[in-house]
C-alpha cells in the first residue's frame, strides 16, 4: 500500500477524531479571513477614516487575532495528537520509522489545512459582510456593504496560515520524536498518575493562592488612589502577578484541597455526584491547572477589555450629555436667531434659562486630608455659580439660606477620582468680594455646558439669589453670563432643528474676555456631540468586541474539547457504573455537577477578575458602570452556558453508548 493510500484510509477511518480539529481550523480561518477582508472593504474603510487610529487599530487587532488563532490551533493539534497516540504507536510497532510517520501525518495535516482554509475562507467571506454591517451599525453610518473579494486579504491569510501550518508540523514532529514507543501506548493512561495523596503542604499553598487573589483584588481597588499613583505601573504589575499566580495556585492546590476535605468528611460514603464530579475533578486538577488558569485569565482579560470599551460606547450618550446638557445649549446672546427659526418652523420646544456668575475657588478645600498630595488640592480655578431660583426650574424642591450652597454638575471620572465632601466650607472670591460658602449637598446632575465648566462634569455652585446678585456685581470679570437650554418636545423634529441650529450659526460662539482677547468656541448640539463620540470610539469598540468574541469562542471551545476528551477517557468508568446498576439518569446527575464546575469555575473566577479590573479604572472610560458590565457579563455567561450544554450533550451520548 502506498503512503498516499494509507493516508486516505486512515483519514476516512478517523473522521470522528478529525472533526474536532477540522472545526477548530475552519473556525480560525473564518475568524481571521473575515477580519482581514473587513479591513480591505471600501465602505468600511471610508466609514472608519474619521477615527484617526483606524490603521493602527486594525493592525494591532490582526496581530492579536493571529496570536489567538495560533494558540487555539496549537492546542487543538496537541489534543488531537494525544488522542491518536495509539495509532501512531501501532505504526511504529509494525516497523515504520518515526520519519515515515511524521511524513504520513504531515500529508494528512496539509490536506486538512488546505480543506479548512478553503472552507474557512468561504465562510469568512460571507461572515465579513455581516461583521461589516455590524461595524457600520455601531458607527451609526448608513451605507450599503457590497461584497468585494480582496486579493490582498487572500494573500495575507494564505501566507499567515502557511506559517501556522509549518508551526503545527513542527509541533507534531516534535511530539512524535519526543515520545518512546512504550509511552505512546500509555499516553492516555498517563493521566492515571493523577491519583495521589494530598499533603498538608498543599493546604498551605492552596490557602496562599486565595490570599494572593484577595490581595490582588484589594490592591486593584486602591490602584487609582492618590498615594499609589506615584508608581502606577509597578502596582499594576503587582496586581497582575498576584491575581494570575493566585489563580494558578487556586486551581493547582486550593480546589483539590477543599474537595479533599469534603471527601474525607464522608468517610467513604460518597454520593453519585461525588463519584462522578468531585473525585475526577480533584484528581485531574494537577494536569488541568495550567490550562484552566490560562483560560480563566484570558476570560478575565477579554471580558475586562470588552466591558471597558462597551462602557465607553455606552457612556457616549452620558458623556455627550455632560458636555451638552440639553438638546441644544445656547450661551450668551447668540440664541435669538435659532429660537426664532424654531418658532417659524413650528417646532415645539422647552427652554430653561440659567444666569451665571464666575468665582475663584480652590476645590481642595472640599477634599479629605488623604488627598492632600493631589495637584487639585491647592489649585485655584474658576467655578461658576447659578442662583437658586434658576436651579429650582430643574429641582423645584431645592432650598438654601444664607451662605449655604449646593455643589452640582459634578460627575464622571472627576467625581470618581477626586471625591468631594459636603458639610464643609469653601472660600470663594470675585474681584474684591470674598465669601465663604457652606456646601450642604453634592449632586451630579448635568446642567451647565462643558465649555463653561472646563470639560464635562466640572462643578458649579448653586447659591441663594441674594448671594448671586451680590456676586454678580463683578460680572465683567468672567466671560460667561447666561445659558439657555433648549429641549425639543418631539423627537421627530430633531433633524430639522439640527439643520436650523447650524444654519443660524448658533453653534459658533465668539467671546471677548475681560482682558480684551477674543475666543472662539464651537458649541455642538447634543446629537452632534454624541455622534462625534461614537465615531471616534466606534472602531475601537468594534475591534475589542471582535477580539473579545474570538477569545470567548476559543476559550469556550477549548473547555469543550477538554470535556470531550475527558468524557472519552472516562467512558470505562461509565461502563462500570452502568454495569453495577447505575441508570443513565443517575450518572448524568454527576455529569451536570462536573460541567457546572468545569465551565462555572473558570467563568466565575474570570468574571471576578474582570470585575475588579474594570472597577479599578472604569471611570476613565465612561460614566456608566453597572449596565455595560452586566450586559457584557451576561453575554459571556450565555455563551459559556451554550458550550456547557454542548458538552453535557456529548457526555450524554458517551454515557448512553457506554453499556
Amino acid at each position: 500500500m502506498s503512503l498516499s493510500k494509507l493516508v486516505l484510509r486512515s483519514m476516512k477511518k478517523n473522521m470522528k477524531h478529525y472533526y474536532l480539529y477540522f472545526f477548530a481550523l475552519i473556525f480560525s480561518v473564518t475568524l481571521y479571513f473575515s477580519f482581514v477582508t473587513l479591513q480591505y472593504n471600501a465602505e468600511v474603510w471610508e466609514a472608519v477614516q474619521i477615527s484617526g487610529t483606524a490603521t493602527a487599530g486594525f493592525k494591532a487587532a490582526t496581530y492579536i487575532l493571529y496570536f489567538i488563532v495560533l494558540f487555539f490551533v496549537l492546542y487543538a493539534n496537541h489534543l488531537f495528537m494525544k488522542r491518536r497516540s495509539k495509532e501512531v504507536g501501532l505504526y511504529q510497532l509494525i516497523g515504520m520509522t518515526k520519519g515515515l510517520i511524521v511524513r504520513l501525518l504531515a500529508i494528512e495535516n496539509i490536506l486538512l489545512f488546505v480543506g479548512a482554509v478553503i472552507v474557512g475562507m468561504l465562510a469568512g467571506f460571507f461572515s465579513s459582510r455581516v461583521f461589516a454591517m455590524i461595524l457600520l451599525r455601531v458607527l451609526e453610518k448608513e451605507a450599503l456593504v457590497t461584497m468585494a473579494f480582496s486579493t490582498q486579504a487572500l494573500q495575507q491569510s494564505i501566507l499567515v496560515f502557511a506559517v501556522l501550518l509549518i508551526i503545527v508540523l513542527i509541533q507534531m514532529a516534535w511530539m512524535i520524536h519526543r515520545v518512546s514507543l512504550l509511552s505512546l501506548f500509555s499516553a492516555a493512561k498517563q493521566a492515571d498518575e493523577r491519583v495521589r495523596r494530598f499533603s498538608p503542604l498543599q493546604m498551605v499553598i492552596g490557602f496562599l493562592g486565595l490570599i494572593l487573589i484577595g490581595y490582588g483584588y484589594y490592591a486593584s481597588t486602591k490602584l487609582f488612589d492618590i498615594e499609589a499613583t506615584s508608581n502606577l505601573l509597578v502596582s499594576m504589575l503587582i496586581i497582575l502577578a498576584t491575581t494570575i499566580g493566585g489563580t494558578f495556585l487556586v486551581f493547582r492546590f486550593s480546589i483539590a484541597f477543599i474537595m479533599n476535605i469534603i471527601r474525607l468528611k464522608k468517610k467513604g460514603h460518597l454520593s453519585v455526584q461525588d463519584v462522578l464530579a468531585l473525585t475526577p475533578i480533584m484528581h485531574r486538577m494537577k494536569s488541568n491547572a495550567k490550562s484552566l488558569t490560562l483560560i480563566t485569565v484570558l476570560t478575565g482579560v477579554s471580558l475586562g477589555i470588552t466591558t471597558l470599551s462597551y462602557i465607553a460606547y455606552y457612556s457616549s450618550e452620558a458623556s455627550a450629555y455632560s458636555q451638552v446638557p440639553g438638546d441644544f445649549v445656547l450661551l450668551e446672546n447668540n440664541s435669538q436667531a435659532f429660537v426664532e427659526a424654531l418658532e417659524q418652523h413650528n417646532i415645539a420646544y422647552g427652554a430653561v434659562d440659567y444666569r451665571l456668575q464666575g468665582v475663584s475657588a480652590t476645590v481642595g478645600q472640599l477634599m479629605s486630608e488623604e488627598q492632600k498630595d493631589n495637584p487639585l488640592y491647592t489649585m485655584e480655578g474658576v467655578i461658576y455659580t447659578i442662583p437658586l431660583s434658576d436651579y429650582q426650574q430643574k429641582v423645584p424642591t431645592a432650598s438654601l439660606s444664607g451662605n449655604d450652597a449646593i455643589l452640582t454638575n459634578y460627575g464622571g471620572y472627576m467625581a470618581e477620582m477626586f471625591p468631594l465632601e459636603k458639610d464643609r466650607d469653601i472660600d470663594v472670591s470675585a474681584g474684591e468680594f470674598k465669601e465663604t460658602l457652606h456646601i450642604v449637598d453634592i449632586q451630579e446632575h448635568s446642567l451647565i455646558s462643558g465649555i463653561i465648566t472646563a470639560g464635562g462634569g466640572g462643578p458649579i455652585f448653586v447659591v441663594t439669589d441674594k448671594m448671586f446678585e451680590h456676586l454678580a456685581t463683578q460680572s465683567e470679570l468672567y466671560p460667561w453670563h447666561e445659558q439657555t437650554t433648549i429641549t425639543l418636545q418631539a423627537e421627530s423634529d430633531r433633524a430639522a432643528a439640527e439643520q436650523l441650529y447650524q444654519q443660524t450659526g448658533a453653534d459658533i460662539l465668539t467671546i471677548v474676555d475681560n482682558e480684551g482677547d477674543t475666543h472662539e468656541y464651537k458649541q455642538s448640539s447634543y446629537e452632534m456631540q454624541r455622534k462625534g463620540n461614537i465615531e471616534s470610539l466606534g472602531l475601537t469598540i468594534f475591534i475589542t468586541a471582535f477580539l473579545g468574541l474570538a477569545f470567548l469562542m476559543t476559550t469556550g471551545s477549548i473547555l469543550y474539547f477538554k470535556q470531550m476528551s475527558e468524557a472519552e477517557e472516562e467512558r470505562d468508568s461509565y461502563t462500570i457504573l452502568r454495569k453495577i446498576g447505575f441508570a443513565e439518569k443517575d450518572i448524568m446527575k454527576g455529569i451536570y455537577m462536573k460541567q457546572a464546575f468545569n465551565f462555572g469555575v473558570p467563568l466565575v473566577i474570570g468574571l471576578l477578575h474582570s470585575y475588579f479590573a474594570v472597577k479599578s479604572g472604569w471611570f476613565l472610560f465612561g460614566t456608566e458602570l453597572t449596565t455595560p458590565l452586566w450586559l457584557a457579563m451576561c453575554c459571556y455567561i450565555a455563551l459559556y452556558a451554550i458550550f456547557a450544554v454542548l458538552s453535557v450533550g456529548y457526555y450524554k451520548r458517551v454515557v448512553r453508548e457506554s453499556l
Binding site: R194, L270, V275, L577, K579, A583, D586
Partner: protein, 253 residues
C-alpha cells in the same frame, strides 16, 4: 428455592443476512446458595450467557426470571435499579474506579441507596475481614496488587447482600496463588453467607471450587457436573475429563 430461571434463551447477533446465533436455546436454573460454574471453549457463548442472565445484554428470545421477576419488559431505569439492588458483579479486569479509594469503591453501589451509614459500615467491616483487605481500605487501586483489587471487587459485589453474584472470569488476570486465595474466599462466603454465585471460567481449577459446573458448547448446554460429596481433587479430575471430551481449550496438563 430457585433464584434464577432461564428458559429457551436465544441470542442472535447481527442483522438478518449476517446473523450469528450465539445462544441456541438454553435452559438453566440456579437455587439459592449454589456456586455454579459455567465452562466451555472460546466462542461457546459463556460470557454472552452471563451478560444476558444479568441483564447487561438482552436476550433475543426466551424468559429470564430472577427472584420471580421477569427481566423482559423492564425499563432501562428499572433494570439498573434491579441490578444495583439484587445483583453483584465481579469482572476479569476488576472494573474499579481509579479515582476512588478501596473503601469508596466497595461502597459505590450504595451511593444512591438509602441504607444507613452504620449498617453500610458494619457490612464493609464484615466483608473486608472475610476477604482480608482491612489494611488497604484507604489505598487507591493503583497502589494495590491484582489479587487485592479482585477482592475489593468481590467486596463491592457483595455489599448490597445481592440475591445473585455474577463473576466473569474473576481469576483470569490473577496469578495462581492469588486466584486460589480469591476462590477460597468466594467459597467461604458462599458457605457462610449463603450467597448464590454464578461464575464463568475456562480454568478447571477455578471451576472445581463450584458446587455445580455447566458445560457449554456451540451455544447449548452440553453437560452438567455436580460436586456432591466429592473432594475438590476428584471433582477437578471429572471436570478435566469432561473438558477433554468437549475439546477446544482447557487442556492444562
Amino acid at each position: 428455592m430457585t433464584v434464577l430461571i432461564g428458559r429457551k434463551i436465544k441470542k442472535v447477533y447481527g442483522k438478518k443476512s449476517t446473523a450469528q446465533e450465539v445462544l441456541k436455546g438454553i435452559d438453566v436454573e440456579v437455587n439459592k446458595g449454589e456456586f455454579v460454574g459455567i465452562m466451555g471453549p472460546s466462542g461457546s457463548g459463556k460470557t454472552t450467557l452471563l451478560n444476558v442472565l444479568c441483564s447487561i445484554d438482552f436476550a433475543t428470545e426466551g424468559v429470564i426470571e430472577i427472584n420471580g421477576q421477569n427481566l423482559r419488559g423492564m425499563k432501562e431505569k428499572a433494570l439498573a435499579n434491579f441490578r444495583r439492588e439484587q445483583l453483584g458483579f465481579i469482572f476479569q479486569d476488576y472494573n474499579l474506579l481509579d479515582t476512588l479509594t478501596v473503601k469508596e469503591n466497595i461502597l459505590l453501589p450504595l451511593a444512591i441507596s438509602k441504607l444507613s451509614k452504620a449498617i453500610a459500615e458494619s457490612r464493609v467491616k464484615e466483608l473486608t475481614h472475610l476477604l482480608g483487605i482491612t489494611e488497604i481500605l484507604n489505598k487507591y487501586p493503583n497502589e494495590i496488587s491484582g489479587g487485592q483489587k479482585q477482592r475489593t471487587s468481590a467486596a463491592r459485589a457483595l455489599i448490597t447482600n445481592p440475591s445473585l453474584v455474577f463473576a466473569d472470569e474473576p481469576t483470569g488476570a490473577l496469578d495462581s496463588k492469588s486466584a486460589t486465595a480469591l476462590l477460597k474466599n468466594l467459597q467461604s462466603i458462599n458457605e457462610t453467607k449463603e450467597a448464590t454465585i454464578m461464575m464463568v471460567t475456562h480454568d478447571a481449577v477455578a471451576a472445581s471450587f463450584c458446587t455445580r459446573v455447566l458445560f457449554l458448547k456451540d451455544g447449548l448446554i452440553y453437560s452438567e457436573l455436580y460436586k456432591g460429596d466429592k473432594t475438590r481433587q476428584v471433582f477437578f479430575q471429572e471436570i478435566m475429563h469432561t473438558q477433554s471430551v468437549l475439546g477446544g481449550d482447557g487442556y492444562e496438563s
